[in-house]
């Protein structure tokens, strides 16, 4: 855990307390059972916004607290631990795009609504099955945006889309010319393909040529924070289980093969936490963001992948059952691993950033 300020500790404790009491995994089960396409509890998101969590990266002048990405990451991590279904990450990513590229008018119009939770927003970049910003076909002509976006997170709850077109990022409101096709993924959360057919679009003119890349880096560190919470939760749950389960008249935790595997996973988790926190801190400092975000997401992918698999293996047969939560983490893990760059994509990007 990075060394935190008093405010950050309070924020994290508040989030931990709320997630544990108000939003345990049982709440996610309810969301899944309800089967609504938006796949989150609107009251829960309203409560989160009420506590100020939707405005953590938004300046005070626009209704936020301006606590920065490390602070946002602390909350996202706690919510990740209990698999809280919410559009908080998606909306925060969209807010970062408006902060980086929006005009004063755009900021004044949208940021207070995002901070208050009134508007849910999301980023729509991919057009195929993988993260590939070079393959964007979506185009804008005369203020009308046309194209197809694939696997957009939180698309059902969102009323505002930050859409990547060939020449930059655009704000598109849900309405005429915007149609959704639900894509059900293993994580049972909201995903959709979106057809934009001449939808009214307003460009984010600021932020320079690197705007899309900068926003994706912010998406990477926030997703990595969610993954960190998930990895920590699977690790903790698995450790508890090993300390209880008896076979051969022995508690599993006394078997050295399992002890050493847990020691390996603990080391991995430690590495992951360092990388993720450094990624969030890099965004706050503005220094070396691309590299730090790539390392953060690459490590998050590597470690959560391993821990989610071992979580099942070490739970044995019951880990395979729907009754146990560990499988939910596995299914969400792979969706987040594929988001904003898979492991191979990120390694390729790291090599490119390093000049080889």
């Amino acid at each position: 855990m990075a060394v935190l300020s008093e405010e950050q500790e309070m924020l994290r404790n508040m989030a931990r307390d709320w997630a544990t009491k108000e939003s345990p995994v049982a709440e996610f089960r309810k969301v899944r059972a309800a089967g609504q396409p938006q796949a989150y509890n609107a009251y829960a998101y309203a409560a989160m916004a009420e506590m100020g969590w939707a405005g953590i990266i938004i300046p005070e002048a626009h209704g936020g607290s301006d606590f920065g990405f490390l602070s946002a990451g602390l909350v996202v991590e706690e919510l990740g631990k209990t698999l809280t279904a919410s559009p908080l990450v998606a909306t925060t990513i969209a807010a970062s795009a408006i902060l980086l590229g929006g005009s004063d008018e755009q900021k004044a119009k949208w940021l207070p609504r995002l901070a208050s939770g009134e508007t849910v927003a999301t980023l729509a970049v991919e057009e195929g099955t993988h993260c590939d910003t070079s393959a964007i076909e979506t185009s804008v002509s005369g203020g009308k945006l046309t194209g197809k976006k694939a696997f957009v997170h939180e698309a059902h709850g969102a009323s505002l889309f930050v859409v990547a077109a060939k020449d930059g990022l655009y704000l598109v409101e849900k309405g005429d010319g915007v149609s959704l096709t639900t894509r059900k993924l293993t994580d049972q959360r909201s995903h959709a393909d979106i057809q934009f057919a001449g939808a009214a679009a307003e460009k984010l003119e600021g932020g320079g040529d690197s705007l899309l890349g900068d926003v994706l880096d912010r998406a990477r560190v926030l997703s990595a924070a969610e993954m960190l919470g998930m990895a920590q939760a699977v690790f903790d749950t698995t450790l508890d289980y090993l300390k209880q389960r008896v076979q051969f008249n022995q508690v599993l935790a006394t078997f050295q093969a399992l002890q050493h595997r847990m020691a390996d996973l603990f080391a991995d988790l430690t590495q992951m936490r360092s990388a993720v926190e450094a990624g969030l801190q890099a965004v706050d400092s503005g220094f070396g963001v691309a590299r730090a975000a790539t390392i953060a997401k690459a490590e998050a992918n590597r470690v959560l992948h391993a821990i989610s698999n071992q979580g099942i293996q070490l739970h044995g047969g019951i880990g395979m059952t729907d009754e146990f939560n560990v499988g939910f983490y596995l299914k969400r893990a792979r969706v987040l691993e594929a988001s904003w760059g898979s492991s191979s994509y990120l390694k390729d990007r790291f090599a490119r950033l390093s000049g080889y």
Binding site: L242, Q271, A275, T294, I295, F350, A351, G355
Partner: protein, 403 residues
């Protein structure tokens, strides 16, 4: 009020910075710029030239090589803030810290904690001045990972102990003046029968034989003790307290093996940059062999998060005022990554990366081959990776003892 204090701090920090700069301007000779070794005295014989000696004496005389150690024992008596200023100002002009070795990294901090006043006054100042070199008498032929199984025995002879037995893997034993050792004073209790004592390496009955390693070098020795007289005042702590003191010292060792400086230095150059010299690149400057490129990126990403972890361990320790629990993984992770890197370096260089000797090989190529071989020791010494895993499982994760 707080503001006043802060501004006072600022003023005194500025004054100290000026003092350090003046010291460097007066004492640091240009010809030593960007040379030297933080760990001088650990890995090789002392062959100081007069200029290096003068620099060591200048730094040692002020206690600035051991800046946070108490002034009354020859340390700098400085705050962490002042220590950072020294590090920063030294680094800026390419000056190295000439005070180092096991005395600084392991023995000194332990003696400051457990030694009596007379022992501290006798042994700490020469460490601060870089005059005395210490070696570690821990491992024995039958006490490696199971260190507490050590059998070297110190028999009570009234005013002295008579020590008999064999230590091994004594790093730098052939160059050391003194040895801090854990020995058995009671055969009836495995852990409580161990005591921590200080032995002169030139005492009659001490024999040192260097061991040639697979890397061709001999940094470790076998050390034999035959009827070696050790005065009672060389016992640190009480009889039977040696296991506690000895383990405390190992914590310092682990922090140093993994912690940072040493490995960070080894990992200086990007593997990608090295690979571009040995392997084909395309028009865009990228390596053509994508499989190799992937391996390099994978290692460097993990290496980066290791450095971040080492930094986090330091920050957390400072904030908590104790050793952070994540320091338990540093040794295990850092040594593994360093080994992986050495192996990858060989793949990058091909046969040119396997040279044993000859002018056709560059110095860096030859050094890296020896480093690859010697690096195999890193996951064995200082508590093997398997021992580290036991420690993490039991102490950090609270998993029960398997024995």
């Amino acid at each position: 009020m707080a503001t006043q204090l802060e501004s006072d701090d600022q003023t005194s920090e500025d004054a100290f910075r000026t003092e350090v700069r003046q010291f460097l301007a007066t004492n640091f000779p240009d010809e030593l710029r960007c040379t030297g070794n933080m760990l001088a005295g650990l890995d090789g014989p002392t062959d100081e030239n007069p200029v290096q000696k003068k620099w060591r004496e200048a730094v040692g005389g002020r206690g600035w090589g051991t800046p946070t150690w108490p002034k009354e024992y020859g340390g700098g008596g400085l705050t962490k803030g002042q220590t950072r200023i020294i590090e920063h100002e030294f680094a800026k002009v390419g000056a190295y810290n000439p005070i180092g070795g096991m005395g600084v990294m392991m023995f000194g901090p332990t003696l400051l904690e457990y030694g009596d006043e007379r022992q501290k006054l006798e042994h700490i100042p020469p460490i601060c001045r870089g005059e005395i070199r210490w070696c570690q008498g821990y491992s024995e032929p039958n006490a490696g990972s199971d260190l507490a199984n050590l059998q070297t025995f110190a028999a009570d002879k009234g005013d002295h102990y008579l020590v008999n037995g064999q230590k091994t893997w004594t790093s730098g034993g052939q160059w050391a003046d003194k040895c801090f050792a854990i020995v058995r004073t009671d055969r009836s209790d495995k852990h409580k029968g161990i005591s921590f004592m200080l032995i002169d390496m030139d005492a009659p009955g001490v024999e040192v034989r260097p061991i040639t390693m697979i890397s061709g070098t001999s940094p470790f020795c076998e050390t034999f003790f035959t009827d070696v007289k050790v005065p009672k005042e060389n016992l640190v702590g009480k009889e039977g307290q040696g296991w506690t003191i000895g383990k405390r010292l190992l914590q310092h060792e682990r922090t140093n093996i993994s912690g940072g400086g040493r490995l960070a230095g080894m990992m200086g150059q990007s593997l990608g940059d090295i690979a571009k010299k040995y392997c084909e690149t395309g028009g865009d400057g990228a390596l053509v062999n994508k499989v190799l490129r992937d391996k390099i990126a994978d290692l460097e990403i993990r290496w980066n998060s290791f450095l971040l972890t080492a930094r986090r361990a330091v920050e957390e320790s400072k904030a908590q005022g104790g050793v952070s629990e994540i320091s338990s993984v540093l040794k295990k992770v850092g040594t593994k990554l360093a080994q992986d890197r050495s192996e990858l370096l060989i793949e990058i260089r091909g046969f040119q990366g396997l040279g044993w000797e000859g002018d056709e090989f560059g110095d860096d190529e030859l050094e890296d081959v020896r480093g690859w071989l010697f690096g195999k020791a890193a996951t064995i010494y200082g508590g093997s990776t398997e021992v580290q895993n036991n420690i993490i499982a039991k102490r950090v994760l609270g998993m029960l003892d398997h024995q």
